[in-house]
Symmetry: C2
């Protein structure tokens, strides 16, 4: 293997998670181990910053700050939802890379980001510019193929399982046979996150909350749901429902939009939780419905992150650097689960092009026949991902999180219009 | 002082908090110290359970469970919003007390509950039945008079300050000058809770999130808020707004209801957050608005409770028992802050009748002139209340909370129609 001497560029892309910064920390820490790596740069706001040559010097950050990244939510380098489309954008990225002798590019993100990374890698090859591109998986949606699970998922699910268990204590105290409590969680197209709230149930207590999990994979059937709610209210005196924001009816229409036009003439609604609330209040007139919508809270709740998730995100960052140093290119780091009963994980690699075009669906056979709860196969899959707590430092009663100095790297190219 | 020998009854009332069970734990633990106290009963679901003679034997619970109550959210005895009104209801309560030789009644709750406790105490006196009634303060709303602050408030505010700081990390990463993030918090008539999110700001960083706190005390002025949002977007590239659910306009109408009828013809809306979102999207067309509505999560998030709050809730429970044993009656335990710079707290007592009829407002002079932030007087008041973290035990990645056995006390009276 040739030793490729040059600089590293790290970028973060897409929606933040509780652990995307842990991957940056892993990359920076590992990069320091390799003499072939000269400078360690971060690109601000994903590809947007790269296009605009907005680079910062990560090696000049204090070790304290890099270490603190391990437990800091958000995306410390900034992120974007900008998708490179024009050929000239890709050309510009390479121009920036060449200008700063970037030879190692690590891009932390979901499908779209891996797609971008793939195209950059291929263009470099075409142009004969030696560049090693390794993607690092990140998404609370847990929908990347080729990897057992995605960093970010364990923490969102741990936080929501905790929250469901806590709200259940509150609901149980208040329930007089009429209390319906709805928690709307993220998940536009897949129910991975909603399904994960099943971890709130104690082992061998199937009647624990959440009583009904409404997944985007299961078309919403109003009469069945109302029947389910009535049954649970009778049994438990309250009914806690987790609903994925992307819940759809049999025709594939979002519940929110649907309810808005059909039942109440609204132009828009708060979301699936609000829509479901109205349906239940109409269908079960004595019901008292409360809706919680954690929104961005769920993906930023780093104080309640899964230690397993944080450690794996860090590990994925380290593995990306090692793979690149070993000569790998155009790959994404994957998490590979061991075969034994006892949960273990190793990293692997998969071609970026495969990751970019796939979506991992929640297996239908992991949903129980009642269509509102998850079976042991799902629990066996998800349970290990939420294990362990993170010791976040507190100052004056509130967690303290990293703030990078972001010392700018001098620009050498003309400005670029995005 | 006469030694009054007999049984204890504890009840919980109104909305749960993260620490209302800590007060029960304090009462039970302290009751065990006094030989005059024979049995320790809990009334299920507040006065509802007392009316129906639904009592449980708290002394038969394991010490583990009583200890676990200290960190368990919800209300382990159940609670209710039922308000005693009819004279016959009060008579029935005394009948139940007499039947079970209840001589010590501890009622944990807010204004209404203290009012109920007051009336029970006075009726017992009228009837010559020796009974000592001590109220224990509880409310996230922090609106009880006579006490420096209320158990429950510190924890809701700590959780929300943490959440605002975490969401701010996420928002900062995504903000491109157009991101408006709204967190709707509880508080129908007073802004104590919304104001408390000011604790998310680092010391000497007034520009930290939350950028705008919209309090029920300050009538909503659409143009000013839009102007404020535009200014913050320019400065910070994102704008995080905390809005109290009870935000009202200059005529005293709830923002939610108002927006619903005037601007969009909706019959109802999700709440102040949704209403504000629509106003901002209309007034600032390029704004991308995200709404989080923690709902019940905020008052149940015991994993993020304030240790100070938990300890004080426990202390208030202990103090109630000691006061009753010492011969006090018809009083509520209060929290009295020490005069020194270093925060200290002692318990005191105030007449129930005073508590029942008062409401403590957020002082106007604690709101800055900009009307959207809190000054140092508020911070000095609130900062000590969120100090310290609670070591909640985890099992399989999720906190474990107490579950009482609730061994029923035999009924001796005829059934009663509520």
């Amino acid at each position: 293997m040739d030793e490729l001497v040059g600089n590293v560029l790290v970028g973060q892309s897409g929606g933040p998670t509780s652990v995307i910064n842990a991957s940056v920390a892993g990359i920076v820490a590992e990069a320091l181990n390799h003499v072939a790596i000269e400078e360690i740069y971060g690109g601000l706001n994903g590809v947007l910053g790269i296009l605009q040559e907005d680079l910062v010097d990560l090696a000049s950050e204090s070790q304290q700050q890099i270490r603190a990244l391990r437990h800091t939510p958000g995306a410390a380098l900034g992120t974007c939802r900008y998708k490179l489309k024009r050929q000239q954008d890709f050309e510009r990225v390479l121009e920036v890379f060449k200008a700063h002798n970037i030879r190692y590019f690590f891009y932390i993100g979901g499908n779209d980001s891996q797609d971008t990374a793939d195209k950059i890698s291929k263009l470099a090859k075409e142009q004969g510019y030696e560049l090693r591109v390794i993607g690092v998986p990140k998404t609370i949606d847990n929908d990347l193929t080729g990897t057992d699970h995605c960093p970010g998922y364990g923490s969102v699910v741990k936080y929501l399982a905790m929250t469901v268990r806590e709200i259940a204590c509150d609901n149980e105290a208040m329930g007089q046979g009429d209390l319906v409590s709805i928690v709307e969680v993220m998940g536009r197209s897949a129910g991975w996150i909603a399904a994960g709230t099943a971890l709130a149930k104690r082992r061998d207590h199937p009647h624990d909350a959440p009583h009904l999990i409404l997944l985007p994979e299961v078309p919403f059937a109003q009469e069945k749901v109302l029947e389910d709610v009535r049954r649970v209210l009778k049994r438990e005196r309250y009914c806690l429902i987790v609903v994925a924001e992307g819940l759809v009816d049999a025709d594939g229409n979002y519940l929110a939009a649907d309810s808005a036009t059909d039942a109440f003439g609204h132009a828009r609604l708060g979301g699936a939780g609000e829509a479901l609330s109205e349906i239940i209040e109409t269908g079960i007139p004595n019901a008292k419905v409360r809706v919680a919508r954690p929104g961005l809270i769920q993906r930023a709740a780093a104080h309640a992150a899964s230690k397993t998730d944080v450690d794996e995100a860090y590990l994925a960052g380290q593995a990306a650097v090692r793979a690149a140093i070993a000569g790998e290119n155009d790959k994404m780091v994957t998490l590979v689960r061991g075969e034994t009963e006892h949960y273990t994980v190793e990293t692997g690699l998969a071609p970026l092009s495969e990751i970019a075009n796939g979506i991992k669906k929640l297996p239908r056979e992991w949903i129980n026949e009642d269509l509102v709860s998850m079976n042991f196969q799902f629990l066996r899959y998800a349970q290990p991902l939420i294990q362990g707590e993170v010791a976040v430092p507190y100052d004056n009663g509130v967690p303290t999180y990293a703030r990078l100095d972001k010392v700018r790297v001098d620009k050498v190219l003309p400005a670029y219009e995005v």
